[in-house]
Amino acid sequence: MRLFFGSCFTLLLAAVIGLGATWLTLTRGVAFGSLTISGWTAWPKSGSVDIDPYARATIARTGELPIGTGDGVAFYAHTDDAGNSFDGRCTFVISGMSPAARYWTVTLYDPEGRLVANTIGRHGFTSAEVVRDAGGRFAINVGPRARPGNWLPSGGIENFVLVWRLYDTPIGVASRTTKEGPMPAVVRKGCA
């Protein structure tokens, strides 16, 4: 009898822990070989045949297609440089110089990867359209209210994700260090 209950307990515990661990790793997007530059994290290996099983399982579940290594690299940010999470009611400023790439785009998504509805139909900027100052620096205001200059509306959603994609870039292909940067800085300016 004790053997029976012991086996049932063991199997149940194994199922709960095993499936729970799978669910956790896949919803959190665990993957190995990440490249972090300030608040931005990329998984360059996810765009190649060296993709690890966790990243494979994650993209199979979400249905996205990772950007290929010969194409570019995508950096994801969920928080600003100080670790404040991206709250759509706050204003954040992304500023810096263009990273080493032929083109880049920055796009705002909700945590599930959907674009966020807004009145001006803007979901991101490309390196060709962003307004720069005389020194070549740009600043993008991400927030719920219209701003002069580069305004990326966040629609006031609770949490958003920024994805910085570099196309035709040496970053992530050869580099293992974070010296490659600098990636643009992200700073919180205040909350409504």
Binding site: R2, G6, F9, T10, L11, L13, A14, A15, V16, I17, G18, L19, A21, T22, T25, L26, G47, S48, V49, I51, P53, Y54, R56, A57, I59, A60, R61, T62, G63, E64, L65, P66, I67, G68, T69, G70, D71, G72, A74, R102, Y103, T105, T107, Y109, E112, G113, R114, L115, V116, A117, H123, G124, T126, S127, A128, E129, V163, R165, Y167, D168
Partner: protein, 184 residues
């Protein structure tokens, strides 16, 4: 009572096996992966433009809205595939994915170095069966080996600003993928 830690140890070992096997099985079990999402939209071996992502609807999550996208859902079981994609003015790339969304090859317009990206896609067996002299005459042909018989080719053309999206879409409209005629 001394058995309890043993039962727990056994449970943890089993949990590890359950965890690893479910992670490894996920790509085969997934019903909402990119290939499954595209199957009803894209006939086999044809380039199909994808609707641009909007806040209401997107074919896949995390699509870059600055790009016009077209896909060719390929099936190499009846022969090798020829891909021809004219490059747009700004930036064009072609990425090859296996049935399970693994990006195994990507090339951009600059790496291709021509007005169009021209590739032959075939399985390893089809490559091995290719007559040798053809291999020589076709030295300038770029041959890609697909690890799986089916998969996805995704063509992306950048619209540097929203007004140029129509141009990017037009460039992709000229892209073709088709099965080569079997050699006599």
């Amino acid at each position: 009572m001394i058995r309890v830690p043993l039962w727990i140890l056994g449970a943890l070992l089993l949990a590890g096996i359950v965890h690893l096997s479910t992670v490894l099985a996920m790509p085969q079990a997934a019903t909402q992966d990119a290939y499954s999402r595209l199957a009803p939209l894209a006939p086999v071996n044809t380039v199909v433009p994808l609707a641009p992502p909007t806040a209401q609807a997107a074919t896949m999550p995390f699509m870059d809205p600055a790009f016009a996208v077209a896909v060719c859902r390929y099936d190499l079981s009846s022969g090798a595939l020829k891909l021809n994609a004219p490059v747009s003015l700004a930036y064009t790339s072609v990425t090859f994915y296996t049935r399970n969304s693994v990006a195994y090859y990507a090339i951009n317009d600059r790496a291709a170095g021509r007005r169009a990206i021209e590739l032959d896609l075939m399985t390893a067996e089809q490559h091995a069966e290719m007559p040798e002299e053809e291999d020589v005459t076709a030295a300038d042909r770029l041959i890609i080996e697909s690890p799986t018989t089916t998969g996805l080719i995704v063509l992306r053309a950048l619209a540097p600003e929203p007004g140029l999206m129509a141009m990017a879409r037009r460039a992709l409209a000229g892209a073709q993928c088709r099965i080569e005629q079997a050699q006599q």
